[in-house]
Amino acid sequence: MTVTGSRLVIAGAVLVACLGAPLVIDQTYQLNVLFRVFLFAGLGVAWNLVGGYTGQLSLGHAAFFGLGAYGLAIGSGKLGLPIPVALGLAIALAVLVALAIGLVAFRLRGPYFALATIAFAEVLHLTAKNLPDVTGGEVGLQVPLIFPPDAPSRWFYWAAVVLTALALAITALITRARFGYALLAIREDEDTALACGIATTRTKLHALMISAALTAIGGALYGSLFLYIVPDQMLSVDISNEIAIVAMLGGAGTLLGPLVGAVLLEIASELFKNLFQEAHLVIYGVLIVVVVLFLPEGIVGTIASALRRRRGRA
């Protein structure tokens, strides 16, 4: 069996194991924690396409996350569409907004890109707060339950696992294809990418749109689990930061990095919340500082680099 073949088998086995978890873990609280882990893993992998592989640091992904949830809620509630259609609408909306954001923001270099993404997300955030007729304003909006009501936590958990698997599969396929090389080239040196005939803006837009679609699905799931959404929860800077940090902690630009980052961060977060209560954000901040200073490539990235250097020497 080839390397790829054996890797696929391992991946498949892991996937089956994850899907089988609810047979062993039954309590709602634990399933919800696991849901959060896999949700942010999926969101991190989606972000990684743009932030890690293409090197475009987006700090406004909450826009897509929130659009997913609000699209579902408004489509199903105000517009009375069936849930799958509303979901499709939400994703389409996120993709369109990604296009709009990208057209403006990708012309900017360096930190200006990040700032622009923050600005876009905040505009959406504040607009959601200010248009109560459309979005329920600060009071919020109801979200339909998209899964059978008898054991919803299980379904949400499975959905999150599937989302993560889907995001990973897409990323893996992209990185092996021409598109993936183009993304890496854009990250490393845009001039070189251009000189190789890569339409850099169009490529970046495609990556952002794919990322947005996946993120929107995540947002819809999250909103549906809580059955109720408010702008401060779904469209805030905190969500954008958390997604980026998950990917960066684990290793931006690596396939499994965001997965590791999500596991670590979400579980640590839960632990800290229980153990440290108030101080958990301080510890979170310290964690980020430590990683930036000592593990800039993230956990998986640092391990991968170390392995590469070993191989180089041998």
Partner: protein, 290 residues
């Protein structure tokens, strides 16, 4: 909405804008001149507000003198933060700077929340309710006082950065770090002091904002974003540009509040920010350096 309401809004905007100008000038020093992306800007401003609060409540320091201590505190913190933390990422990618300062911001914000709780804090002093009138325009005393001090300090900072040897060294580093080192400038020391100065400026703003607004741990975030908006509007590296942009922002904010309501103020600011970024990334006064 009569002419006088509009005029009042413009006036209030200028008074507020002076404080924004200070916040912006601090950011212009840090981001514009040092090219350091500082997402902890607002958190430090919040810290200054709390420091002034504590000085007022516990030590009965006059609310219009507290800013001096706040500025000194932030200067020290700035130098220390740069020396031990930020220096390590100053040469690295913006990504790293953003993340590091984000982490710092979290630590500061939540640290304050741990100590003081999340409640809004406000100080009360006799001058608060005093207000003067010229024609149909009201001048609220605390605002005027804050404005006056701010204006003097803003000019002082501008002159310092533009005329002093230190300021020249700083601008030299901004233009060409390597060459600056070659002509004998101690780059690391200058940058540390500059970061301190940038934060001290923010400290003054924070200290002077406290008599006017209430404060709470999360108040800093909006100021970070506004600071970036101001710096982009004013043009990279332009201290004077940031000052003017700050005034403009204040006026925009008050006018928006007047005509559309306060909740749209930030939206309008960000919209302007995005428009400027797309159309003229070098800002209204800046040189080609986006």
């Amino acid at each position: 909405m009569g002419v006088w309401s509009t005029a009042q809004a413009v006036l209030d905007g200028v008074l507020l804008g002076a404080l924004y100008a200070l916040v912006g000038m601090g950011m212009a020093l840090i981001f514009g001149v040092m090219r350091l992306v500082n997402f902890a800007h607002g958190a430090f401003l919040m810290l200054a507000m709390y420091a002034t609060y504590v000085l007022f409540e516990r030590l009965h320091v006059n609310q219009y003198l507290g800013f001096i201590a706040a500025a000194a505190l932030l200067f020290g913190l700035g130098v220390v933060s740069y020396r031990f933390l930020l220096r390590r990422v100053a040469e690295r990618s913006d990504f790293m700077q953003i993340l590091l300062t984000l982490g710092l911001s979290l630590i500061v914000t939540d640290g304050v929340q741990l100590i003081f709780g999340a409640d809004y804090r406000q100080i009360n002093f006799p001058l608060m309710s005093t207000s003067w009138r010229i024609g149909r325009l009201h001048f609220n005393a605390p605002w005027v006082l804050s404005f006056a001090i701010t204006a003097v300090l803003a000019v002082a900072i501008y002159l310092f950065v533009m005329r002093s040897r230190f300021g020249r060294a700083l601008r030299a580093i901004a233009q060409n770090r390597y060459a600056a080192g070659l002509v004998g400038i101690d780059v690391q020391r200058t940058q540390a002091l500059a970061f301190g100065l940038g934060l001290a400026t923010v400290g003054v703003a924070g200290g002077l904002l406290l008599p006017l607004f209430y404060t709470y741990p999360a108040v800093g975030e909006q100021y970070t974003l506004k600071a970036f908006v101001i710096v982009v509007l004013g043009g990279m590296g332009s201290i004077a540009g940031a000052a003017i942009a700050g005034l403009v922002l204040g006026v925009v904010e008050e006018l928006t509040s007047l005509f559309w309501g306060n909740q749209w103020a930030l939206v309008v600011e960000f919209a302007i920010f995005l428009v400027v970024l797309s159309v003229r990334p070098s800002g209204l006064f800046g040189s080609q350096r986006a």
